[in-house]
Amino acid sequence: MKAFRQLLRAVAAPLGAIALTLFLGFLLVASIADEPVLAYRELLFANFQSLGNFALFINRATPLALIAIGIVFAFRAGVFNVGGEGQLYLGAMAATVMGLALPGLPGFVLLPLCVFVGIAAGGFWGYIPAVLKVKLQVDEVVTTLMLNFVALLFTSYLVNHLLRDTTTYGAISWTLPESVWLPSIPGVPNATSAFLVAVVLAVLAWVLLFRTVWGSEVRAAGTNLRFAETVGVPAARRVIEAMIVSGGMAGLAGALYVLGTGHRFEQNFSPAYGLVALTVALLARVHPISALVTALFYALMLNGAAYMQIATDVPRSLVALLTGLLVLLMTARLRRQSSRH
């Protein structure tokens, strides 16, 4: 019950900002579009107008949620993981390579293998900056950021020169064998069942972080390293583990994207999901379950915006504007900060 109230508080906090942004946005839309009400109806509800739209909404939220939940682990361990994008790409690439390398294996073997190597690749990409931080105090913001570029370029090389489907014009790999395609969510065709994984993992992440000794050790290491050491927490190990989980989650997001949505690796498949998920995690106040909720909300806005653009003459840029405003206002408090503390 208490946990629920806590959660409610975490979720309720940004509601004011959302309302304010929506209001400001409405004024903006009204000043431009002829039918602001229609525009807003599309923005908020078009995602639920058809199963198809709903599926796309789910598909949008899934990678965001998975990466954001991962980032929560890193943050809780005191690591600022800006590397979600690179971890995502490597995870997607690893799953693709595995699926293309052993197409003969039965799906029930190959699919878990693909998922596993995806997680491993992302986790490895989280492990490097974590070790450098723990052993040599190398700033993780720099390393994770730089490793993003490395991962993007590396996967770009692979997809263009080794795995490319030469029958199409795109920078896309050969299609994965259908045996490893993830099924859709029952009843919602084309909605990736990876979303269910995200839901389960959000809850699992919450349990791990707040209901296990491991979680409390990670958080102790993240808030006061010397305290952690003193009370017998292997702090360095926990930080590294949390980063492996963090990278692994992003890698999983990539693998599940490939297996559930794209069915092959595509260069530029991510509109900066890593960075958006970072925002999502921060807006969710670093809580895994509210990260899931925030990811859903964010996806709602993103996809709703597209419908708004299609249905009315509201320009696409207005949406970016609204999103920016939303992010900007979401952590603002409407009261002046107390001057001490």
Binding site: V213, A228, T230, G232
Partner: protein, 513 residues
């Protein structure tokens, strides 16, 4: 003393933080050129009151009069213009900057209008240092200074702008005994120069040593001002706490025969060096028996911290053996030592002792998840954990605490109680306690003392490390003295006259070992 001659008069000062009434109604009158001590329990509102005088907080009600004129003090600059300077309980220094830069922080002398005039700044700093005969290098970065030196920088910072009234908030809490002596001299010196000093302390000895007047705060109210010469330490303690306080320990009845069990904590020639090869512990040997309290005295920085950390498993031991309950634990990890029966109260609660942003429940549970059965099916059971914390809060009388509050919001004394509570909860066979009452009021200190003694009575071996010689003398059955990483002597309490310990602490009489 009547208001007309007073340099500073406070009337009806009140202050609340949210729903917490920190100050209800405080009256205070301070004569020019006196040393006025303010005491009170932790959380009585002393710091809050002084912060109001220093312009850091604003009073909700009441008046402040300076030399008979009512004044308002909206910010620290205004306070300094009015001649009020404050040395904070928690140092307010910038570690990377030099002494001179810290002294003139926010008020750098300039040249060519826009540039800092370093030469001038360092010259003035040197002058100031010389005037008060401090031993400080104006160019040394503050981060490299010892605690006592930093304290002096803080004092100079207040004096740099000709503070007529100098406020010192618990300046002695972190000082070594010799440093305390020097500080008291400085205060006397200031009084001679006609400065008025407002001095907050929990150490009643100091009150007797320097104060002209002593005022007592309790629960945000002033409960009286006395001539220091006319009241005893016990009187002040009673006024503070509202009841009689007995400071008792084993030292007081050292003659009483005691029997101890087998040695539970044994150190044999333990040596520790730092990365650059300097010996921090030099072949230290020591044994603490079941039921015994062994106190370690010594000037801070002679290896006491390292001794505690080496036992706790936080420093790698290069040579020698540590045995706990007869079993060698030299190379084992912290959790292994904890499960072997070690309890450890580190010297700095905010550094190693706690994670301030985590909840009270989590902090108290940190070393107890498995032993105290806080898990169910491998998962943390929040109800059990909260109940566990609840029990600690009750047993240790931690005021204003609830399991789900961040522990950093508690006062220092209350935090300290919870650290001790956490370590005692396991009923450790060996308990290492460092600086257990630093910054605590006399009531809280008495309480912690009695818990430490109870642990020993129940059969634990207690190693007490304190820079407070009186505390060591009060509690210990035997007393070890450390000097430059070596254990110079371990004396039975009866042979440990204060004077002899003092000589040992300064490295004298090395052959006594």
């Amino acid at each position: 003393m009547d208001g007309s001659t007073a340099i500073l008069t406070l009337q009806g000062i009140a202050k609340r933080f949210g729903d917490k009434e920190a100050l209800k109604s405080v009256d205070l009158s301070v004569a020019p050129g006196e040393v006025h001590v303010v005491c009170g329990e932790n959380g009585a509102g002393k710091s809050t009151l002084m912060n109001i005088l220093a312009g850091i907080h604003q009073a909700d009600a009441g008046t402040i009069s300076l030399r008979g004129m009512p004044v308002s003090i909206p910010d620290p600059i205004a306070a300094s213009r009015l001649g009020i300077g404050m040395v904070h309980q928690h140092f307010k220094l910038v570690p990377s900057m030099s002494v001179a830069e810290n002294l003139y922080l926010g008020r750098n002398p300039r040249k060519y209008l826009v540039f800092s005039n370093r030469a001038e700044m360092e010259r003035r700093a040197a002058e100031l240092i010389a005037r008060y005969r401090f031993d400080l290098d104006p160019r040394a970065p503050v981060g490299r200074l010892s605690v006592g030196q930093r304290q002096r920088v803080e004092i100079l910072k207040a004096l740099a702008f000709d503070a007529e009234i100098l406020i010192l908030d618990e300046p002695t809490a972190v000082l070594t005994p010799p440093e305390v002596g020097e500080l008291l001299d400085v205060i006397a010196n200031l009084r001679e120069r006609g400065r008025t000093v407002l001095f907050i302390t929990h150490k009643l000895r100091e009150v007797k040593a320097v104060a002209d007047h002593v005022s007592v705060l309790r629960h945000g109210e002033s409960v009286g001002t006395h001539l220091a010469a006319e009241v005893s330490e016990a009187d002040i303690a009673r006024a503070m706490v509202g009841r009689q306080v007995f400071l008792s320990g084993r030292g007081a009845d050292a003659d009483k025969p005691r029997t101890f069990g087998p040695a539970l904590l044994e150190l044999e020639n333990v040596s520790v060096s730092n990365a650059s090869g300097r010996r921090l512990l030099d072949a230290v040997s020591l044994a603490v028996r079941a039921g015994e309290v062994v106190g370690i005295a010594g000037v801070d920085g002679n290896g006491q911290t390292e001794l505690a950390e080496a036992i706790a498993g936080l420093l790698p031991i290069q040579a020698g053996t540590v045995r706990l309950n007869g079993r060698a634990i030299t190379g084992t990890t912290v959790p292994e030592r904890i499960s072997a029966g070690l309890g450890f109260v580190p010297e700095d609660r905010l550094d190693r002792g706690l994670s301030p942003t985590m909840t009270i429940a989590e902090n108290v549970a940190a070393t107890n998840y498995r032993r105290a059965h806080l898990l169910r099916g491998g998962l943390v059971d929040p109800a059990r954990r909260d109940a566990f914390a609840e029990r600690a809060i009750r047993e240790f009388d931690v005021r204003g605490a609830a399991p789900d509050r961040a522990i950093g919001q508690l006062s220092g004394g209350n935090m300290q109680k919870l650290v001790v509570a956490r370590e005692m909860a396991r009923r450790p066979r060996v308990l290492v306690v460092a600086q257990p009452t630093r910054g605590l009021d006399i009531g809280a200190a008495e309480f912690i003392h009695s818990r430490i003694l109870e642990a020993a009575d129940a059969g634990a071996a207690v190693l007490l490390i304190s820079s407070e010689l009186s505390e060591v003398l009060l509690l210990s059955d035997r007393i070890g003295v450390m000097y430059r990483g070596r254990m110079l002597a371990v004396l039975p309490r009866k042979q440990a006259e204060e004077e002899r310990i003092g000589i040992l602490m300064n490295g004298g009489e090395a052959q006594a070992a």
